[in-house]
Structure formats: structure tokens, C-alpha cells
Amino acid sequence: MKHQKTADGIGLDHLQVGQHGRVVSVSGEPDLRRRLLEMGFTPGAQVEVIRRAPLGDPIEFGLRGYHLSLRADQARHVRMQTP
């Protein structure tokens, strides 16, 4: 259930640490969506899960040559396709 692959891919928050994949789509409130897209989560972009914070949330991601942290609640709006 957790790693269920749908046509829309899986939520970025469900990727394991060390796993990477490509962005399929970005959903959510317009403001959040814009910010995520502008920070580089565009469809096709490759994203790697670097680590989770000691308390489990937020999560650190690597994309486009830099590191960014998002809460799981935001990361779930980024749908991923894993290799």
C-alpha cells in the first residue's frame, strides 16, 4: 500500500533514504506548487532522498546539484517515478 505505484507515480515522501527518481507531476495549493516548481521540482527532474531529520521530518533532498529540505506533508505533492 505504501509503495503502491499508480499512474501518477508515488509521493516523494514515500521514497526511501538513498533512493532516487524522476518527478512526474507536482500538485497542491498554487503557492506551494509554484514554489516547488521554481525550486526545481519540474517534471523530469531527478531527485534523491538524502536523509530524514532525526525526528523523522523534514526530509532532505538532493536535486539540480543542491540540497533542499521539505516536510513530508509538502513532499507528498511531488509525484515520483522510480527506476
Binding site: R35, E48, A53, P58, H67, S69
Partner: protein
């Protein structure tokens, strides 16, 4: 060349100056470059109406020309969400009446994070202003194996690109020279879906027809695709005169650019309310629904097109030799980039465009930085390091600063005593020694603490650790309705709530920002420290250092608990607003630069001293006057003297066998003489004390203390403490000097044993001691929880833009303090 910029205290724009806007992403090293360009010729103010810092500086360009450099707030995008970004966007678009329209935009690009930084560049390209790129952090990029060629990037963008290493001042002179060669970057053809281009033409065309002096934005470069003309429709031959066609195309370019901004959801102020009113509103709705039928979202398509362009530019800007370092999909063909040495082809975006969904995924950080994070963000060690770093911070503030504070205090006393004899006896001398020296001196002693704290904060920030601390703390802070980004403001508030409250600007969510501002004063600031020190020293001095330290620590913990509870109430009671978000870049670790740290210390310490020199001087004078006037009449003085207790001469010398009677009498006479002198001295002191106490009782402040006594009595406080509390409202540390004046010991040696002893010995009318450990605890808690700082209220007013919050803060905090102190004192006095 030297005449224009030197010795100009006011950095106003002058005709003939080149106006330069310095733009860039947060963490791009923009501030370092601004400092390198302008040196100390800086002026920091606020943009009128908003609290965004407006930093300007002047810089000689050579050839007698000067530049006014406007340091814009760091921004990821020109479509704004936060106040900072709005200001940056408005300055760049020339929408702010208070800021000259920039002639040149210098954009700082972090070479080690090229793609994300180029996103802002791609938006600046659309703006159509002359531009220069300062390619910063080339050293880090190189260490990471990214060999970016500034020449190639320059060819791609069509603007000068200057490699700089900001902190080493490398390339700064070249950057100044390059400003003269700033160019408008040729507008690339964005890879927008055909359907969207069509919709843009439709909306743009409609806007051109509808144009009835609508406040449509100017200064647009046009839209990033070719506008068709009559020749496109007529198979390549112009039907109308080509000049007409070109004019129509240019006109349509501009309107289509406006249409693009409207369709992608850019609602900046230069748009007016065009988008909200018919017929444009319905035009946009129709276009949106047609696009969504094709599965296209204008905003996303626009950003995607920008990133596709960026990927191309970034790929073309690499030095060919290291291209294999980037694991890329097959899209980029090696030969293509190899042929780009000829300048003519470089501008052709078609060459750069990569087909398919290719994307460079460079190793995000240097190996070293990643290794550091393996410890600092480790599940267990991360938290251990966090606690250790915070502990080090507090230890340095409190223990490292102590000798420096003692030295400062000695210095203040020395200056006070040096000047005092020069002043005429009477109000002027009293004003100096009791008002100004005691008041300002009491504040200036905190300079070492403030300096150490800001040095620490600057080092943590410069190194990149503060972002990690926010990352570690977000979970905990979000539980109580705050944000990981609240961590930095709250940490700063342990020095002083004012910089803390200002640092809350980085929090995008309004409710979280307000909550952070609201709870920041619960953090025990450095001004409370001398009060804690005085009370703990006076009443718990007999206990071990461990107990004293424990009491001190509990004061901090009580504050933190109150902050958490209050933030949680905020979360419950707050209106449902935009969802909380935490999107934070974790920059590569860097070694902090001493120049930047020292600059932060200098700026903040200067601001603190300025405050001490202005506001606190005035308040000290006012408070002193309230305690000094009205003066007692001769008769009242006589009465007070008569009421003073008289010391008697002690003559009981024990008779010791074996001493002759003569010797005995001799000793007795000698002792008597000495005792007499002491007794006279003591009686004189008693009289002085009595007069001073009576003077205080009859003063305006004393009367006020009596007036509020019924309110504070249930908390265990008497009217003298009431006077102290009133004094503390100017600045908490004034409590100590007020108590010094109240207890009629010289204000200069406020922290020495006599004051503490006098306080401990003070008896109320019924003979019970005024001060008990319970009263001290109650008063300590009062100081933790109560809002007693006018400067904080003023800053909250400024940051929130209304009196509602400071008033609410004042009422809430003082009510909370009263209730807690009441419970503690009442319950405590029944238990003991």
C-alpha cells in the same frame, strides 16, 4: 575619481550615478559581494512602509563615475510570496517611488548551484534590463569538479559574466569594469507548448484591442517566442509594408508578454487589478479552461520552459573536458558543445535546447560537506552536537563575557568618578552619577555579551549550520505551531528580543511569523541576566554554585515553557490560514569568514550602543527625575533625620585578669574614642539613608510604587519593588540600578554585597523581612514572564504594522506573569 564617493555620510542617489540593483538567490554570497564593492560606504535603512532592510552603498567605478548599489533581499523568484521578494521585484521593475529605477542589474550566481540560480537569471532576462552576472563561488564549484566557463556562459546569456570569489575580493575590480559593458540579454525562445503560445497570442491580441489606458506594466522585454506577421499567413511574402508589420509585431510582443504574466499567475502591483476585472478576467478564464483541456497548466508550462532553457545554458557553459563528470541522459551530444567555440553559434538557443527529459544531476555537495552532515544531522549525534553547540553558545555568553563585563563596568565607574567632581553639587551632579552613569552604565556592561552572541550567530550562519538547526528543530517547533525557521529568531532572542523579532521575517506563513514574534520575548534576554544575578546572589548565595546554576537554568526553562504554551494557544486560536510550509535550502558548509563575523559584531554592537546612547539615556534621565523630584522640604528632612535609628557606643570591654587598672582604662578610652567616631559616622549614614528613603517615598516614582502596591502585594512585592518594576519598564536591567537607588547605596557599586545585604536586611512595618527566598522566586518568575520592555513593543508595532499585537502582548504577558507569581507566592507562603 576619488572625489565622488569619499566622505559622503548620506548615500543618496545623485544625478550621474549609475544605479545598480544587486540581485541574487539567498546563500549566493550576495552580501559578501555587496560588502566587497562598497566597503564601509553603506547605509542601512528600511524601505518605507515595510520592514524590509534597504541596504545601499556607493562604489567608484573609475573614470570619475560612481555607482549607487542597491542590495536587494535575496530571492529565488521574481513572482513574490514574501515581503522580501516583493520588495526585490518592485525595485527591479522600477515600481518603487523611494528607489531610483536601476540602470543595471548585477545578478550574483552561485556557480556551485548553477541551475537553481539561473532560474532567477531567466526571469531577469524577461525583465529586459542591462545585466551583468557575477559568477560567485567558482572555487567551490571547481572543488566539486564543475568546470564552468564564464566565457561560455557569457555567450549563452549575451551579457558579461565575471568570475568572482567574494570573500577573497577576487574579481571585484573586473566586476566594476564589466558594469560599463552591461547588456540586455537577448530574449530566448522559451520552449512553451504550441497551444500556450496560441493562447498567449489570443489574450495578448485582445489586450491590445482592449487597451484603454489600463495600468498595464511597462518595461517588459516581450514574450519569449516569435510573433507571427502577415508573411506567416501569406506563405512568406509580406502583404503589408514590412515596417507596418514590424511595428505591429513589436506592439503585440509587449501585450503578449503582459498576457503571459497574467496567465502564469503573476499578480504584481504593476498589473493593477486588470486580471480581476472583466473583460480580462473572463478572457483569462476562457484561456485557462482551453489550456486545461489540453492538459496544460500555464504556470507549470512556463516554469518548465525556463528550466529547459536553464538546463541547456548550464550544459553549454561547462568546459568540455569535464562533461563526463555530469551523469546525464543521452540528450546532450558531446560534439555539439565542442563546436561552440565559434562565437556566432553561441547565441542560438536551438543548439542549446535539449530534447527529451534530460537533466544534469550533479553530486549535490562536496564530499566534505556531506561528511560533516553525516555527523551533524545524524539521528543521535546530530542531536548531541546540537545540544553541545547551544551549550557552548550559552557558556560563552555567560562565562566568557564575565571578565569583559567586569572590565566594562570598571571603565564606566571610572569615567563616572572622573567627571562627577567636575560637576556642581546638586541636581546636575546627581543626574550624572545616579541617572546617566547608573542607567547607561548598567546597559553598556552588556556590550561584551551582545558582541559574543552576535559573533557566534554570525559564525553559525556563515558556516551553514543555522539552516541545519532549523532542519533539526522543525518537527518539535511545528508541534507547538511554530516553524523550523522560528529557531533562529528564538535563539537570537536570548540576546535580545529585538533582533530576534526582526529575524522572524524569513517565515513565510503569517500565523507562524506572528506566533514567533509573540513568544520571542519569553526567551530570557541578556537584560534579565543582571536581575537574575542580583536576586540569586542575594537570596541563594549560601547555596552551592550548582543550586544557583539550577535556579538560573530553571528561569530559562520557565520562559521556554511559557513560549511553547503560548505558541500552542496561538495555533488553537489562530485563524486557518495558508498551510504551514518548510522549504529550506541546506547550503554547503563553509568556513566562516572573519571579516563577515567581525562586520556582524560591529554593526550589531554599534546599534546596541546607539540605543544605549539615545533611548536609554533619555529614559534614565526621566526615571531619575521621577525618583528625584519632588524634593523634600527642610522640615521633612529634619523629621526623617530624627526618625533615623541611633547607634550607641559599645563600651563593654571584657575585664581580663592580669591587666592593670590603668592599662584597662587606657584601652577603654582608646576604644571609646574609636567607637565614638564610628558611631558618629554610622549615625550620619543612618540619617542619610533615612533621608534618601524618605526622599524616594515622597518622589513621584515612590508615590507610584505605593499606588500600585495593592496590585503587587499578593505576589509578595512591596512598594520599593514596585518602583523597581516601573523602572524596569524602560529596560529590565534598570531594575538593578533602580534597586541601587532605592536602597540608597551608590548607584555605581550596584552589584556589590551591600545592596544584596541591604535588601536581605530590609524589614517591613510589622518587622518581618521584606525579602524572603519566596519573594525572590516570585520576582524572578515575574521577570521571566512579564513584558517590561518598551523597545520590544515598539519593534513589534513596526514589524506587525499595527498596535493590536504589542498591546495584546503587553496585556497577555503581564497577566500571565501576575497569575503565575500569584500562584507561586500564595501557594508557597502557605506551604512554608
Amino acid at each position: 575619481m576619488s572625489t565622488c564617493c569619499e566622505g559622503t555620510p548620506r548615500l543618496n542617489w545623485r544625478p550621474g550615478d549609475v544605479v545598480i540593483a544587486l540581485a541574487g538567490n539567498p546563500n549566493s554570497g550576495k552580501t559578501t559581494i555587496f560588502n566587497a564593492l562598497t566597503g564601509l560606504r553603506q547605509k542601512v535603512a528600511n524601505y518605507p512602509g515595510v520592514t524590509v532592510e534597504k541596504k545601499t552603498g556607493r562604489c567608484p567605478l573609475g573614470g570619475g563615475q560612481c555607482a549607487l548599489i542597491i542590495d536587494l533581499p535575496g530571492t529565488y523568484s521574481l513572482i513574490s510570496r514574501s515581503l522580501d521578494e516583493t520588495v526585490a521585484m518592485e525595485v527591479l521593475r522600477g515600481m518603487r517611488a523611494d528607489t531610483p529605477v536601476p540602470d543595471v542589474v548585477v545578478v550574483v550566481v552561485d556557480a556551485s548551484n548553477l541551475q537553481r540560480n539561473l532560474y532567477l537569471v531567466s526571469q531577469l532576462v524577461e525583465l529586459g534590463r542591462p545585466m551583468v552576472v557575477a559568477l560567485n563561488m567558482m572555487d567551490i564549484a571547481q572543488r566539486r569538479g564543475l568546470r564552468i566557463s564564464p566565457e561560455r556562459l557569457s555567450r549563452e546569456l549575451g551579457v558579461p559574466v565575471v568570475p568572482v570569489v567574494g570573500h577573497k575580493r577576487q574579481g571585484i575590480d573586473e566586476l566594476k569594469r564589466a558594469i560599463q559593458y552591461a547588456r540586455i540579454s537577448p530574449l530566448p525562445e522559451w520552449d512553451l507548448p504550441r497551444e500556450m503560445q496560441e493562447e498567449l497570442l489570443v489574450v495578448g491580441g485582445a489586450l491590445a484591442i482592449l487597451d484603454d489606458n489600463e495600468p498595464l506594466p511597462k518595461n517588459l522585454a516581450g514574450v519569449g517566442f516569435r510573433i507571427p506577421c502577415c508573411a506567416d499567413l501569406a506563405g512568406g511574402t509580406h502583404v503589408c509594408p514590412p515596417d507596418n508589420c514590424r511595428a505591429a509585431q513589436a506592439r503585440l510582443q509587449r501585450y503578449t508578454a503582459v498576457a503571459e504574466r497574467l496567465l502564469v499567475g503573476d499578480r504584481a502591483a504593476d498589473m493593477g487589478d486588470v486580471a480581476g476585472r472583466d473583460p480580462v478576467a473572463s478572457l483569462l478564464r476562457a484561456a485557462e479552461s482551453r489550456l486545461s483541456a489540453h492538459g496544460i497548466d500555464a504556470m507549470q508550462a512556463d516554469i518548465e520552459a525556463h528550466y529547459r532553457w536553464i538546463e541547456g545554458v548550464a550544459a553549454q557553459s561547462l568546459t568540455p573536458a569535464c562533461e563526463d563528470l555530469l551523469p546525464m541522459e543521452s540528450g546532450i551530444v558531446g560534439e555539439q558543445t565542442m563546436t561552440l567555440d565559434g562565437p556566432s553559434e553561441a547565441h542560438q538557443p536551438e543548439d542549446a535546447r535539449i530534447t527529451g527529459q534530460t537533466l544534469a544531476y550533479a553530486p549535490p555537495t562536496t564530499h566534505a560537506s556531506e561528511q560533516v552532515d553525516q555527523v551533524f544531522l545524524h539521528k543521535i549525534w546530530g542531536m548531541v552536537c546540537f545540544v553541545a553547540i547551544m551549550a557552548t553558545l550559552f557558556v560563552s555568553i555567560f562565562w566568557l563575557a564575565q571578565p569583559l563585563m567586569d572590565a566594562t563596568k570598571a571603565g564606566v565607574t571610572w569615567v563616572g568618578e572622573l567627571v562627577t567632581p567636575l560637576l556642581p553639587v546638586g541636581p546636575v551632579r546627581d543626574l550624572w552619577s545616579q541617572g546617566i552613569v547608573a542607567g547607561v552604565g548598567g546597559v553598556v556592561v552588556f556590550v561584551p555579551q551582545i558582541a559574543i552572541l552576535f559573533a557566534f550567530l554570525a559564525m553559525l550562519e556563515d558556516s551553514g549550520y543555522l539552516a541545519r538547526a532549523a532542519f533539526l528543530m522543525d518537527r518539535i517547533l511545528s508541534k507547538v505551531g511554530l516553524n523550523g525557521k522560528s529557531f533562529i529568531p528564538l535563539l537570537s532572542s536570548f540576546a535580545c528580543a529585538i533582533p530576534g523579532i526582526m529575524a522572524a521575517r524569513t517565515i513565510e506563513n503569517r500565523r507562524e511569523r506572528l506566533a514567533t514574534i509573540f513568544v520571542a520575548p519569553f526567551m530570557s534576554c541578556s537584560a534579565r541576566l543582571p536581575v537574575y544575578g542580583l536576586l540569586i546572589g542575594a537570596f541563594f548565595g549560601a547555596y552551592s554554585a550548582l543550586v544557583q546554576g539550577g535556579i538560573l537554568l530553571s528561569m530559562y526553562l520557565i520562559g521556554i515553557t511559557a513560549a511553547a504554551g503560548t505558541a500552542w494557544l496561538f495555533k488553537l486560536g489562530g485563524e486557518k490560514e495558508a498551510a504551514s510550509s518548510f522549504i529550506l535550502e541546506l547550503p554547503t558548509y563553509k568556513i566562516p569568514q572573519w571579516s563577515q563575523v567581525l562586520r556582524a559584531v560591529y554593526t550589531n554592537t554599534k546599534a546596541f550602543i546607539m540605543k544605549a546612547g539615545t533611548i536609554i539615556v533619555c529614559l534614565s534621565v526621566v526615571l531619575w527625575a521621577l525618583m528625584y523630584y519632588p524634593r523634600l522640604s527642610e522640615q521633612q528632612i529634619a523629621e526623617a533625620e530624627a526618625g533615623a535609628k541611633t547607634s550607641f557606643v559599645g563600651t563593654n570591654v571584657d575585664f581580663k585578669p592580669g591587666i592593670s587598672l590603668e592599662r584597662m582604662a587606657e584601652i577603654r578610652a582608646k576604644m571609646h574614642e574609636k567607637d565614638m567616631q564610628e558611631a558618629v559616622e554610622q549615625n550620619r549614614k543612618n540619617k542619610e539613608t533615612s533621608v534618601a528613603a524618605e526622599q524616594l517615598r515622597q518622589s513621584t516614582a515612590g508615590r507610584f510604587g505605593h499606588l500600585i502596591e495593592p496590585v503587587i502585594k499578593p505576589l509578595g512585592f512591596d512598594w520599593k519593588m514596585g518602583v523597581g518594576l516601573v523602572g524596569a519598564f524602560a529596560a529590565r536591567e534598570v531594575f538593578v540600578s533602580t534597586m541601587g537607588i532605592v536602597y540608597s547605596v551608590g548607584a555605581e557599586d550596584e552589584n556589590t554585597a551591600p545592596l544584596e545585604q541591604q535588601m536581605a536586611a530590609d524589614k517591613s512595618a510589622d518587622g518581618r523581612p521584606v525579602w524572603t527566598p519566596l519573594v525572590a522566586i516570585s520576582l524572578l518568575i515575574w521577570f521571566v514572564l512579564a513584558m517590561q520592555c518598551m523597545s520590544t513593543l515598539a519593534i513589534v508595532r513596526r514589524e506587525t504594522g499595527s498596535w493590536k499585537w504589542p498591546v495584546l502582548m503587553l496585556v497577555y504577558m503581564n497577566a500571565l506573569a501576575w497569575v503565575v507569581c500569584f500562584s507561586v507566592y500564595q501557594v508557597g507562603s502557605r506551604l512554608i
